[in-house]
Symmetry: C2
Subunit: 162 residues, 2 copies
């Protein structure tokens, strides 16, 4: 093998080493950030429209939600049942405002987390006063094998004294 061929072999090995497909998961963090920011917008918009199917589409199959006053709700099926009960218990309500101000997104490989400040206004029927709730959220996300990010863990609580 000539010196030239030896260098070609090494060069190929080094390039293969540096290739994301071999050495590590894709690291296009800018793109992954954009995907997660889109998920965040979709989550707020789906809640604003009280559209459970759209919210559920953002959840991982083995996701868990940790909400005040409740035991953990584990798994997409149980989360679906829970959301259905919540909406059924609020006939005539609509959500007039739903906004989350997310902070400090951290992505590491196929896992990410972010926390945020939430603001929701829910309007009851019959002209009763609106319910205005400010709180905090902590989300842990996972990138699935098809490259989409899904919610794995969600926790929420209010800023108000309890």
């Amino acid at each position: 093998m000539s010196e030239f061929r030896r260098r070609v072999v090494l060069f190929v090995a080094i390039v293969a080493c540096a290739s994301p497909a071999i050495a590590a998961p894709p690291a296009d963090t800018g793109l992954e950030r954009q995907k997660i920011e889109k998920l965040n917008q979709e989550l707020d918009d789906a809640i604003l429209h009280m559209d459970n199917a759209r919210v559920l589409a953002l959840w991982a199959d083995d996701g868990v939600t940790l909400l005040p006053g409740l035991a953990p709700v584990e798994g997409k099926k149980n989360i679906a049942d829970f959301m259905e009960k919540v909406v059924a218990s609020m006939p005539g309500f609509h959500v007039s405002e739903q906004h989350t101000d997310y902070r400090d997104l951290q992505i590491s490989g196929d896992w990410a987390s972010q926390w945020g400040l939430t603001h929701q206004v829910a309007v009851p029927p019959d002209g009763k006063p609106a319910i205005d709730v400010r709180g905090k959220i902590l989300l842990v996300l996972h990138r699935e094998s098809d490259g989409t990010w899904k919610i794995e863990r969600e926790m929420w609580n209010t800023d108000a004294k309890q």
Copy 2:
């Protein structure tokens, strides 16, 4: 270069490629799990003893805690002030039980998350009835440059209706 030498060159390149020092962060997940399990035990034990200094030692400098009824408390210094106020507001109390049952630890590079079920019993002075609280916790941890894991994000809420 002989066929043998060529294979040696390729072998060295492939080993270098697979070496964590070159291709990826250390991936001794078993060891990292042990370190996090030790942190979990230390956190419960430090709270049991109401030892704020020991709790604080487990926090990252830029950590944030998201507790019910409060705005986010950001940064180790603010968390220290907050914990001092909490303990000062409970003269004569002691914690007789503090246990967290952590679930589904996920480690990805220098970031990790886990959620858990919490149980705390706080005993007031003067024979008043103990306060028994069950809740849920979500922790996001970061491995610092010295290899130790620290708490970056903590959120908690109770199982009781609020």
